[in-house]
């Protein structure tokens, strides 16, 4: 299911890759740290026929050029950077989702605090993705409510929810294949653009302004996730890892308050997962709140501030990684499942 | 949409015509002819339903409007007419025993089925399978479907010309009994009963047999079905074949009902209405096709009687289709092929 769809891609053993350096610690509260960028690492699945850049080296070069100073600024120029864990930003209140006679989600309540990384985990069929879809407007909850910054987003149109500040990525990559990487990101940026159709028709000044900033911010975002060099490559020609990164960049482009990642590590090997963890930390460090749905316990435990565990559509635990790890119900729920089940 | 047109017409002084109102409701006519119109509508509706089944099955399995199904049907009609004419029958009912007539009709139906099935098979092979192999977009499928439909239509046009085929009549319908003052004749009865029997057979076939289970499995989830050992390509071909068989049967009934209606573009509008019937009943739903077909047949007739112009048959059918899609996008019975349980 979450395997990369294109089986033709060759996997290169990561051990052979000399560019994998030590994972440095993220430096919160200091904006985009140079170290983070350099260590996102190379694309893990290079492919000879697509000139995948060597991001680490590229970043070095860029670092020399001093370009990356502006990255976070360009990626989200108007946002306040607030990484301190704060008040509740999303509240899921007693949400129930039923399909016909089947109750997929039963009276689930949890919240996400501003600035935290919340993990949503559970065994297969526990209702993780259902909860996710109920939050992001794909399903309308049968009962209960979802609040974003105190306002209900239940039953709103999906694009309105996105504009309200809730962005997501897809478990099975859903990029716009016939668009370049940059254009994909600009579609995300368009969520904040206000040029009307008549405005675009006659090319209003606002159109020019937005278009120009879109290219700059788009490139900056691609740079942020480490694929700036492939900006003009059709997204369907990108290697798998770059596609995953592009998904994140596109979601970030909508300038979300909360970024929801749906199994972002699907199909990744352990080393790639490490790089992903760094990326997630950096994103948080840039002031985003992150909701992470993941199978992989190591990744979740390693990156999350707090974890919500679902089983059979019900919440069975909610707490810090350490608390959850110690929870008897969680252990029994996961019994028999290997700790590092790579989805 | 129509409201706009109504107001438009109100704004235009209708100076060109002697009758000022182009839309007038002739309720008397509807009431006077209500029952005959109903039974005639049901007869034609049964034919629509048989064709609609072909759309519904393919749609259920492939999620594709097989625009070429109308040509599958019309090829069946050609098969029926060719058989009967080459057996020496013509526009006049032959003086034969019942048994001989039945034998000839069934022979013609079988040939019609063969024509339809071969057409369906070729269409699947030439137009759809290569796209499926390539994993093409939905739009690509729709466009090839359209291309296949037109290619076949105009191929027939080039071979047979723009005239309808000469009529073949096998028996003169005779009144059998009366319901609400409307005469039911032997032809109506034959068509309706035979069509319903065939549809029940199809329904049972899909519900009870192994192949039927395969069809439902593919309709529900093609990938999983493939993983479970169902040969998807074979199931798809089977679906086209069943659709072709039913279209061949519909062809015989159509030729019986409208002996001179076999013409190169005769299938197209009929096909669109049959598709409307399938959507009306709930596309992918076998019983829905029957319901939708009968409804489209009857509603069109009422519309014509009420509005006094046969042009309205199609307009009314389409408006009903749009309304149904708006109110109940999944159709009246709304189940999918995959979910129908044995």
């Amino acid at each position: 299911m979450s395997e990369p769809r294109d089986e033709k891609r060759e996997r290169v053993p990561v051990e052979n890759d000399p560019n994998l350096g030590a994972v440095p610690e993220s430096v919160p509260n200091e904006g985009p740290a140079d170290a983070d960028l350099t260590d996102i690492g190379p694309d893990p699945t290079p492919e000879a026929d697509t000139d995948v850049p060597d991001e680490a080296e590229l970043a070095e070069v860029l670092a020399e050029a001093g370009i990356d100073e502006e990255v976070a600024e360009a990626a989200a120029s108007e946002r306040e950077i607030a990484v301190e864990v704060g008040e509740k930003i999303i509240e899921v209140k007693a949400v129930t989702v039923k399909f016909g006679g089947l109750t997929a989600l039963d009276d689930v309540t949890f919240h996400i605090n501003r600035g935290e990384i919340l993990g949503l985990i559970g065994p297969n069929g526990a209702g993780k993705t259902t909860a996710f879809n109920a939050m992001t407007g794909v399903y309308k909850p049968t009962s209960g409510d979802v609040l974003l910054e105190g306002k209900s987003i239940k039953g709103k149109k999906q694009h309105r929810i996105t504009r309200a500040g809730l962005a997501r990525t897809f478990q099975n990559i859903r990029l716009f294949g016939e668009m370049t990487a940059l254009e994909n990101v600009v579609v995300g940026l368009d969520a904040r653009h206000k040029t009307s159709v008549p405005g675009a028709l006659v090319r209003s000044p606002r159109h020019y302004r937005e278009e120009k900033s879109a290219v700059e911010r788009g490139i900056a975002l691609l740079e942020f996730v480490g694929i700036a060099e492939s900006a003009n490559t059709l997204s369907r020609h990108l290697p798998y890892g770059s596609q995953r990164r592009l998904e994140i960049a596109r979601a970030l482009a909508t300038d979300p308050k909360v970024l929801c990642l749906d199994e972002p590590a699907a199909g990744f090997n352990p080393a790639e997962k490490d790089q992903l963890m760094d990326l997630i930390r950096t994103i948080r460090a840039d002031g985003y709140t992150v909701l992470l749905i993941e199978h992989d316990m190591r990744l979740v435990m390693g990156v999350c501030d707090r974890i919500v565990v679902l089983e059979f559509g019900k919440k069975i635990a909610d707490g810090s990684p350490a608390e959850v790890r110690a929870d008897q119900r969680v252990i029994s729920a996961y019994l028999g499942e290997p700790d590092d089940d790579a989805a | 949409m129509l409201a706009t047109l109504f107001s438009l017409s109100a704004a235009l002084p209708a100076s060109v015509s002697t009758d000022n109102s182009w839309i007038n409701f002739d309720v008397t006519s509807l009431l006077q002819n209500f029952w005959p119109a109903t039974f005639d509508g049901l007869t034609f509706g049964a034919i629509y339903a048989l064709i609609a089944l072909g759309y519904t099955l393919v749609y259920g399995v492939l999620n594709l409007i097989n625009f070429a199904h109308s040509e599958v049907f019309i090829m069946g009609c050609y098969g029926v007419v060719f058989t009967l004419t080459s057996l020496g029958f013509g526009p006049n009912a032959p003086n034969l025993s019942i048994w001989a007539i039945i034998f000839n009709l069934i022979l013609a139906m079988l040939v019609g089925m063969v024509f339809s099935v071969v057409t369906a098979f070729v269409v699947e092979r030439v137009a759809y399978r290569p796209l499926r192999r390539r994993g093409a977009s939905r739009l690509a499928f729709l466009i090839t479907a359209l291309g296949a439909s037109f290619s076949i239509q105009y191929l027939i046009f080039l071979v047979r010309g723009s005239n309808a085929e000469p009529a073949v009549t096998m028996f003169i319908p005779t009144p059998i009994f009366q319901v609400f003052g409307a005469i039911i004749d032997s032809q109506q009865l034959t068509i309706v009963i035979a069509a319903i029997v065939m549809m029940v057979a199809t329904d049972q076939y899909i519900r009870r047999t192994r192949v039927g289970r395969g069809i439902r499995a593919v309709a529900q989830d093609p990938d999983t079905a493939t993983l479970m050992g169902v040969n998807k390509d074979r199931i798809i071909v089977t679906t086209f074949v069943i659709g072709g068989i039913l279209a061949g049967a519909a062809a015989l009934f159509y030729v019986m009902k409208v002996p001179s209606g076999v013409i190169y573009n005769g299938g197209f509008v009929l096909g669109i209405k049959a598709f409307a019937a399938a959507v009306l009943g709930g596309i992918g739903n076998v019983r829905g096709a029957l319901l939708g077909g009968l409804l489209i047949g009857v509603i069109g007739n009422y519309g014509q009687l009420l509005l006094g112009d046969s042009q309205w048959t199609d307009v009314v059918a389409f408006i009903v289709l749009v309304l149904v899609l708006l109110i109940r996008p999944s159709g009246l019975l709304g189940q999918t092929l995959g979910r129908s349980r044995a």
Partner: protein
């Protein structure tokens, strides 16, 4: 295989049903086979008097003219309406061939332009034709829509054109001086058909059904006006329609003596057949659009109740013409072949008389006053025939035969 099983099951089921229905069919046959009671037996016309001094394309054989003069046919050669066009241009071709054979000193060229009978496509070929200065006369265009769309181009170029088949009365109300019609328009046929039904067939209750064509609507309006209170009901059908059950049940309810179908045979034939199958006993009358051998082929025995009206002469009765046509094109003359032939003959006669430019030829046609094979040709100021004849036809032993002039 599975599909075989279903074929078997389905066929068996169908067999059972056909059987039961068939048995009932057998037991209640009768009643419906008797022919229409109200049918009046009109004698068939067997000969027709061709005007003795009818102008023929051959002329006196001594015509002299410069080479390169060209007549054109503009109209459908392809598309669904092609047959009508072929009938006409074969007639034209025949006339020109005969003329050129008889007059070695005057060889007239013939060009064809295809419009597909489509008004939106017609401007291109027509413009092309008027731009070719050699073309001094045209036979066409066959259909009213395309004639309406292009008449102005002819007028502007002063190029005379004679239509062999466009019958819309409105065409002569455009003020064009170049347009001539080689047959009566719909307004002539309507009253004639009304008289035919009420006087000759002696039917008092007439049901009028029209299709959606300009021709059908115009004719229907005309005949309804003439029939007055004899009309017991009207209905409208659609080009391409195959199932007429709603209309049929209305008619069966109204019990008329006659049904006048104002349209073409493609719909008229199945309509008549469905009427008869539903037990309708009256007569079925159709205009020239229905009068076609195809009607009998399509309607079968049901066509025995059919009569036709047509402003066309029974061309098959003019032996010489139908033989020559047959030998030239290996087909019997079709509807409007003879009109095409006559139209071309008029233009050729003009050329033979030395009218070898557009304006002279136009004036020639304008003042023309002579017999043609099919009728007397003389036009009024707007291009309508001064006098036109309508013939009645009936179906006799699977053939359409004339019953003589009806108006």
């Amino acid at each position: 295989m599975a599909s075989k099983r279903i074929i078997g099951a389905v066929a068996a089921a169908a067999a059972v049903m056909l059987l039961t229905a068939g048995c009932v069919n057998q037991s209640s046959t009768g009643g419906s086979t008797s022919s229409a009671a109200s049918k009046v037996d009109l004698p068939a016309q067997t000969t027709i008097s061709v005007p003795k001094d009818a102008v023929l394309p051959a002329g006196d054989g001594n015509a002299k003219c410069s080479s390169g003069l060209t007549l054109a046919y503009i109209g459908a050669e392809t598309g669904p309406n092609a047959q009508l066009g072929i009938n006409i241009y074969n007639g034209v071709q025949l006339a020109i061939d005969q003329h050129n054979k008889a007059n070695p000193g005057c060889q007239v060229q013939f060009k064809k332009f295809d419009t597909e009978g489509d008004p939106t496509k017609a401007t291109g070929p027509v413009t092309q034709a008027v731009n070719e200065k050699d073309i001094i006369g045209v036979v066409g265009l066959p259909f009213s829509g395309e004639s309406q769309a292009t008449g102005g181009i002819f007028e502007q170029a002063g190029l005379v054109h004679i239509t062999a088949s466009a019958t819309n009365p409105g065409l002569t109300k455009n003020g064009w001086t170049t347009f001539f019609r080689a047959l009566g328009n719909d307004n002539v046929q309507g009253p004639a058909a009304a008289t035919f039904i009420t006087k000759e067939l002696k039917d008092k209750k007439v049901y009028v059904v029209q299709d959606d064509s300009d021709y059908g609507i115009g004719l229907s309006t005309a005949i309804q006006k003439s029939l007055g209170s004899d009309v017991v009901g009207t209905d409208k059908v659609t080009t391409g329609q195959k199932d007429f059950s709603a209309t049929v049940s209305k008619i069966v309810n109204a019990k008329p003596d006659a049904v006048f179908y104002s349209g073409y045979y493609a719909e008229g034939a199945p309509f008549d057949q469905q009427l008869v199958n539903k037990g309708y006993k009256g007569v079925f009358v159709g205009p020239d659009g229905v009068k076609d051998d195809q009607f009998i082929k399509l309607a079968g025995d049901a066509s025995n109740n059919a009569y036709f009206t047509c402003p066309c002469i029974p061309g098959e009765l003019i032996k010489s013409f139908s033989d020559q046509y047959q030998s030239a094109f290996n087909a019997a003359p079709g509807t409007y072949s003879i009109e095409g032939y006559d139209s071309a003959t008029i233009l050729l006669a003009g050329i033979d008389k030395g009218n070898t430019d557009r304006s002279k030829l136009k004036d020639w046609v304008k003042s023309y006053n002579a017999d043609g094979l099919s009728k007397h040709y003389q036009w009024d100021s707007v291009g309508e025939l001064a006098k036109s004849t309508v013939y009645g036809y009936k179906v006799d032993n699977g053939k359409i035969v004339s019953v003589g002039v009806i108006g």
